[in-house]
């Protein structure tokens, strides 16, 4: 009996000793702001799913972690190709020796990544069965691809074996793309985390379930997935590993310095496990970070910003714990569009067209809108007024471009309205049109968000102060998207975040032919379109910046849009998270993070 007891005690002791070894695993826990949908890079359409894909798959190119402004870096490709043939040909050479993670589909063989894999992915984008949200990246781009896509739409199946003239696979590792027209931003497309080489056998084996079976070459693998509740990534044991590139680091930047210090000599990735919990509601997400249930929080909810950064400095209780805050001016643009069509829903649109009195009405509304209150009260100071659609940090941004045409000035707004005949003739407190007809402007906004509701409130208040009547309508998300796309609205709010760091990605929002897609204002000004088309054909430089400046001025004059803001997001981390630096384009930074497990355990007690 005693012997058995002793054995038991020994077993328990052994177990107890084994456990601390287990506890040394570096586990990062964090939350996502909205729920994910799945991890098939071609089928996923929301930022967070794509962010996970970033860690499971590897595109040909990526961005350097520390370089600012952002710089492309080769990943699966050996080097960044130079544009050939006037910006219409790009030839990539894939690095040999990169392998997909093991999967039963490969039948025990190690599967190497080859050039054909990226050709396959691009074809998948045009396959109607995938209803890819990013199909537009490859529309009207690569020679021969559109014809294949047309055929697929007619027959219902995509012929993956057909050759595409614009995608020449030369041997195992080389692929050369031929574009229909010059595009100097093509390299950015191939740096997007959802444009990645994929193994055809895997996709064909998993059919409809590819969202849950990601098989890539990346530093992490999907270990566990409870939909909309928990995502667990674990280190890919067969990953080749890399070290932090410091060539572009800025020795004067404290984040670069600390990252270099923390990661010196370490083989990346360092994290063993990442646990991600989608939490849509702000309060629980914020409280989870404060309670140390999570190690970092991306995009601290704006409602709590005064608690975190009272008067712009980190709160003392957080500072004492060593929390660090990374304020990031995201390359995004939040704005309100006016539908400038003359006829909307079969009725005359008081905001539409380019007649002087219509322009005057739009400009007056912009002047009457209290952007200061928007920034200070709704966004708690976490935004800067936009001077043009292009945010700072993006190629083509002009820091010297500044306008007063959108600043809050109710006196000038009233003067403009009076001047063009928008007066209150019947004494009901609201202005009528120059022809004497009463009018109401309708603002549609997204149902279910407090912030959206407050933005609507601000419009109603600001316009009422100058005598313009605005009515608001809360609409379901899907319906709002549709309404904006087809022009079934008068005014609505919108936001655009950079897909790639070039001004073109923002200025295309007002390009005439993009009406019914991203040009929600339905703005069709021939001068603007001409300038835009010219800018597409030239690379970044003085000439292109001049064209952009002209386009910005036209937008200010014709006012199809109230420029709004560029938002600032604050990312918080506890001191045991090492190597952190938020990248403007990359969604996650797991592969560069390290964790001080001992400190984490101590703090959690």
């Amino acid at each position: 009996m005693t012997r058995r007891l002793a054995m038991l005690a020994l077993a328990v002791l052994a177990l107890a000793l084994a456990l601390p070894a287990e506890a040394q695993k570096k586990v990062l826990r964090m939350a996502f702001r909205t729920a994910e949908t799945g991890f098939d890079p071609v089928r996923a359409y929301d930022r967070y799913s794509v962010g996970i894909c970033e860690n499971l798959f590897e595109p040909l190119l990526t961005y350097d972690y520390l370089a600012r402004p952002v710089k492309l870096a080769p990943l699966v490709a050996e080097s960044i190709p130079e544009p050939e043939e006037g910006g219409t040909r790009y030839t990539f050479r894939i690095r040999p020796g990169i392998y997909f993670v093991d999967d039963p589909v490969f039948k025990g063989e190690k599967r190497e990544l080859v050039a054909k894999d990226i050709e396959y992915t691009i074809k998948r984008y045009r396959d109607p069965r995938n209803r890819a949200a990013y199909e537009w990246l490859f529309e009207n781009k690569i020679v021969g691809l559109d014809e294949l896509a047309e055929k697929a739409k007619k027959t219902g199946t995509f012929d993956y074996n057909a050759k595409v003239a614009g995608m020449e696979v030369r041997g195992k590792y080389i692929i050369s793309f031929k574009l229909k027209e010059p595009d100097y931003n093509f390299l950015y497309i191939l740096a997007m985390p959802n444009v990645v080489p994929m193994a055809r056998e895997v996709i064909e084996a998993y059919g409809e379930d590819t969202m849950g079976h990601p098989v890539g070459t990346g530093p992490f693998v999907l270990k566990e997935w409870v939909r909309r509740s928990k995502i667990v990534l674990e280190r890919n044991p067969s990953y080749r590993g890399f070290e932090l590139e410091t060539r572009y680091a800025d020795p004067n930047d404290e984040w670069d310095r600390k990252a270099m210090e923390d990661l010196r000599g370490k083989r990346l990735p360092q994290l063993d496990r990442v646990e991600i919990y989608p939490i849509e509601d702000e309060q629980p997400r914020y409280l989870a970070f404060l309670n140390k249930e999570h190690d970092l929080i991306d995009e601290t909810p704006v409602s709590f910003i005064q608690q975190v950064l009272p008067n712009g400095k980190l709160a003392p209780n957080l500072a004492r714990q060593g929390v660090r805050v990374f304020p990031e001016l995201e390359p995004e643009f939040t704005y309100d569009v006016f539908n400038v069509e003359e006829i909307v829903d079969g009725r005359e649109n008081v905001l539409g067209g380019n007649a002087p009195e219509r322009i005057a009405l739009r400009r007056a509304m912009v002047l009457a809108h209290d952007r200061k209150q928007e920034i200070e009260i709704i966004r708690k100071g976490q935004a800067i007024a936009a001077q043009s659609p292009v945010p700072p940090g993006v190629v083509g941004y002009d820091p010297s471009f500044h306008t007063a045409a959108q600043d809050y000035d109710p006196a000038r707004a009233k003067a403009l309205l009076d001047m063009f005949g928008y007066r209150d003739r019947d004494g009901d407190g609201w202005r009528e049109t120059p022809e004497g007809r009463p009018f109401v402007v309708q603002y549609k906004y997204n149902l279910g968000g407090q912030e959206q509701r407050q933005l609507a409130e601000l419009w109603v208040k600001s316009m009422a102060a100058v005598g313009i009547r605005v009515e608001t309508l809360a609409v379901q998300f899907a319906d709002l998207l549709n309404d904006k796309r087809v022009g079934h609205f008068q005014m609505a709010g919108s936001a655009w975040i950079a897909d790639y760091p070039d001004a073109q990605n923002f200025l295309q929002l007002f390009y005439g032919p993009n009406t019914n897609q991203s040009n929600e204002a339905r703005f069709r000004l021939p001068e603007y379109d001409r300038l835009y088309e010219r800018s597409l054909a030239i690379p970044d430089g003085e000439e292109r910046n001049r064209l952009y400046r002209e386009m910005d001025r036209l937008l200010l004059a014709y006012a199809p849009v109230r420029l709004g803001v560029h938002r600032i997001f604050n990312h918080l981390q506890y001191p045991w998270v090492k190597g952190y630096k938020k990248h403007p384009i990359l969604y996650t930074q797991f592969k560069w993070l390290d964790l001080d497990v001992a400190a984490q355990q101590v703090a959690m007690k």
């Binding site: 702000e282 309060q283 914020y286 909810p301 409602s303 709590f304 005064q306 608690q307 009272p310 008067n311 712009g312 380019n354 002087p356 322009i359 005057a360 400009r363 200061k372 209150q373 200070e376 009260i377 709704i378 708690k380 100071g381 820091p399 010297s400 471009f401 500044h402 306008t403 007063a404 045409a405 000035d409 109710p410 006196a411 000038r412 009233k414 003067a415 403009l416 009076d418 001047m419 149902l447 279910g448 968000g449 407090q450 509701r453 609507a456 409130e457 109603v460 208040k461 009515e471 608001t472 309508l473 809360a474 609409v475 379901q476 910005d552 001025r553 036209l554 200010l556 004059a557 014709y558």
Partner: protein, 356 residues
Amino acid sequence: MSAVLTTPAQAPVQESPGLWMLAWRRLRQDTVGMVSLVIVAFFLAMMLASYTGLIAKDWAKEKGVSYANPSFLAGAENLEAKAMAAKDAAAKAPPVDLSDIDPLAPYYGEWQKRAEKIAVTEVKRAETLPFGGDKWGRDVLKKVIKGSEVSIFVGLAGALIAVFIGTVFGAMAGYWGGFINDLLEWCYNIFTSIPYILLILAFAAVAQATGSFGKGIVSIILILALTGWTGPYRLMRAEYIKHANREYVKAAQAIGASNRSRMFVHILPNVSHVALVQLSAHVVGFIKAEVILSFLGFGVPVDMVSWGTMLAEAQNELVIGKWWQLAAAGTSMAILVTAFSLLTDSLRDALDPKLK
């Protein structure tokens, strides 16, 4: 036999008091009931005063600084207001000139002259308000009063319509029976089989998308009424079934009363006490439902305030220490709902003494 018939002393004729008189007397003796009645009456009076503009007319005016502290916390820190004041116009590059492409360029001169003539009055914002301010600096006390008006109105109107629909359907089903009963029972089964939140969300989504429920406050009233008629229907139907075979109804038939007359002139007064209690209970239920609907975003429109919108706003304010909007809306709602519930109970007791 006497030739003279002496009329015996007449006993004083006693009018047998009706149901309502009896109920009122019983209610009067119920202290809790009377107190609740007074409180409810007070709220209704406040609602009328607010509706006619006597009080809280300027609830939307931004009198205070952002998140103004309540007067009893006058000294406390207000980081939000400080932050707003601290921002000043940073030095900027000279603004870009638009005159060469601007269609409005010809009017610049006149524009400038007119703008100068328009006076801009800067209103000084108060540092504190009686019960604090919300994020825009609006007076929480006034918001609560106005919010009560809207919430109570939504509750009352919704309950009235729901009970009306339920009574009419219940009367038809209970009185006629047969095919009509089967049809209405079928409707009832459908509505009660679908989980309540799904039903509400579906109707709310319909109301939002198509606007077929009318704009603004009308749509939320209709949503509540169209999903809430089932309770009254059930009870009224049971009552009508009970009464339809009673003798007084047969008597009414004998004197030639039409079916409709029998249903609504004869039977209805005898079952109206059930309807009244249902009405009272549903007012409470709908006021609480409005809060949830506002939280989900289906509530009253942007230019109105209700308890629901105040609580939805207050959600994120607690964590940053601004508790007054939550307290004001939560407390006033609690008081009214408690009073209404206790009144409902007392009414039920007063109208149906067997339940004692």
